[in-house]
């Protein structure tokens, strides 16, 4: 019976053979992940965040952990759009035939539009994931994603620059995520991805200094799951466009929980850093979990937790 489960998922017009994708920044540009597991099994492939210029990233140390998660301040290390268009993206497209999602990071609204236009030229890109957690350099470094006016401006600019489906990836470091979500929907976003990492820090007892060179880092992993679920729930109630849920998903049960809260597909990041086979394990376990719940189609679970009690 288990084999009869239909795992197909859709995020608006983008169809996925299953709902499991790697979260940006934990998959590189595919080649590194392909050494570790069979990436052709993935429902979609989400690339590392790409900026206009190549970036080395932040100083060391960039990572540390806590009992149920980790903090990172990698600082968007990536080879820059020119290299990605010429090398990394075509290489991924040779290895992976499903939908490829380009994660886009700008430091000004124009930069987002420019990057969106560049990716628009490539047939290999199925959708753009607009990471609005980047610091807005023209506004004192506050992230675009923490201000609904700035988030709307970015969405509008990339909407104009590209005909591809636009998924806006929201920051959880806000008072009311539904305001930002609505602002992006109003400007034509095709889907919303949430959550990016939660701002946090740790202090090293030995050095008596912040554990990360950058002082603050993004918290992710299992400890983030309840926060992510709450936000996916809230955004599902607030908008009509589909949601890609992420934040702490580590098992098929977590993925289903995210789906019940309102996600049409999930991304898995940190769990794969501890156990590189995490995504394949989730894909393998989903049919059993869905069958045990008495369902035959993954897509039927989307948002089910919002329907009347009992």
């Amino acid at each position: 019976m288990v084999s009869a489960v239909d795992l197909s998922a859709s995020v608006g017009a983008v169809r996925l053979k299953n709902p499991v994708m790697p979260a940006s920044g934990t998959f590189g540009f595919g080649a590194d992940a392909a050494r570790l597991y069979d990436i052709t099994r993935l429902g979609g492939a989400v690339m590392k965040g790409v900026t206009k210029e190549p970036r080395f990233g932040n100083d060391q140390p960039r990572v540390t952990d806590c009992p149920a998660g980790m903090l990172n301040a990698v600082g968007l290390e990536n080879p820059g759009i020119d290299s990605v268009m010429k090398q990394e993206l075509p290489a991924l497209a040779r290895m992976y035939k499903g939908p490829i999602i380009a994660n886009v990071c700008g430091f000004t609204v124009d930069e987002y539009a420019e990057l969106a236009a560049r990716f628009d030229e490539s047939q290999d890109v199925a959708a753009l994931e607009i990471n609005i957690s980047c610091p807005n350099v023209s506004h004192g470094g506050m992230a675009f994603g923490t201000d609904s006016v700035a988030a709307a401006a970015v969405t509008r600019a990339v909407r104009r620059a590209s005909g591809k489906p636009i998924w806006v990836k929201l920051s959880p470091n806000v008072t009311d995520i539904t305001r930002i979500a609505r602002a992006c929907e109003d400007e034509g976003a095709d889907a919303l991805c949430l959550i990016n990492t939660l701002l946090g820090m740790r202090v090293d007892l030995r050095t008596r200094r912040p554990a990360l060179a950058n002082t603050f880092g993004g918290l992710s992993g299992p400890c983030a799951l309840p926060v992510a679920l709450r936000m996916v729930w809230q955004v599902y109630e607030a908008v009509r466009i589909p949601i890609v849920g992420m934040g702490g998903v580590s098992s098929a049960r977590d993925a289903v929980e995210m789906t019940l809260a309102g996600a049409s597909a999930v991304e898995i990041g940190t769990a794969a850093l501890v156990d590189p086979s995490a995504l394949i394990r989730v894909i393998d376990e989903l049919p059993r979990v869905i069958t045990e719940m008495g369902y035959a189609r993954y897509a039927d679970l989307v948002g089910k937790a919002h329907q009347g009690k009992g």
Partner: protein
């Protein structure tokens, strides 16, 4: 690279706060001295990386110092326990480029140099080892290296001496150095030692397998991942 469960054979204190852990399981993924194992430890979320100090067909050995939560928990591992390990990570040292090697270790940087010494002995080359420790009760692997018939020089900070104080003497008839230890020591060795050399770097890692860019260090040809392109870098390549 291989991920699997490895059985704890022994886990004993060998110096102040330093333990020697022997794990049983396939070592086919190990190709070179200087490669490392990424070990999942109950109680901390991310895996912890440790250099392989020795290996044979049945298993491998690490020597680790208790410095925090993860290593403290690891010290509690007992025979009969098993650990989830990703083995055979990183590039490792190249023993084919030296006929008269000098191995320079600081503290728990010595373990991969023991594995390297065995590789050299295996091809008929006898290395010289220069090891630095904080004090007498921190010394590791000096006797084991002597048992391989290597010449071993030990410096102790408690006696006011560092490895850099004896670099000239140690490198006299040598053609290349191989170093592993705290970053401060590595920088000093790179600056002061006239020989070409390879250095094994340590940075905090998240995945250890090349996915996250958590461990990147700067080289003259751009950022490189310590976990994949390293941990061993040529002296000439580092942007220090």
């Amino acid at each position: 690279m291989r991920q699997g469960l490895y059985n704890v054979i022994s886990n004993e204190s060998v110096a102040r706060g330093v333990y020697r852990l022997r794990l049983e399981g396939s070592t086919r993924a190990l190709a070179r001295a200087g490669q490392f194992a990424d070990i999942r430890i109950d109680g901390v979320y991310l895996r912890r990386p440790f250099s392989v100090a020795d290996w044979d067909d049945e298993g491998f050995v690490i020597l680790y110092k208790v410095v925090g939560e993860g290593t403290r928990a690891l010290a509690g591992a007992r025979p009969g326990h098993s650990l989830d390990v990703i083995l055979g990570l990183g590039n490792g040292f190249d023993e084919t480029i030296s006929r008269a090697p000098l191995l320079i270790g600081g503290g728990v940087g010595a373990p991969p140099l023991y594995a390297l010494a065995k590789r050299f002995i295996g091809i008929g080359i006898k290395p010289v080892a220069l090891l630095g420790f904080a004090s007498r009760c921190d010394i590791i692997l000096a006797d084991e290296l002597r048992a391989l018939d290597c010449r071993v020089m030990v410096t102790l900070e408690s006696e006011g001496e560092r490895v850099t104080d004896r670099l000239d003497e140690a490198s006299a008839d040598r053609d290349r150095f191989y170093a592993c230890g705290p970053e401060g020591m590595l920088r000093a060795v790179k600056r002061q030692c006239g020989l070409p050399g390879q250095l094994s770097l340590e940075t905090r890692m998240a995945c250890g397998v090349g996915l996250c860019r958590g461990c990147t260090c700067m080289t003259l040809t751009g950022g490189k991942r310590v976990c994949v392109e390293g941990p061993v870098f040529d002296k000439e390549a580092l942007a220090w």
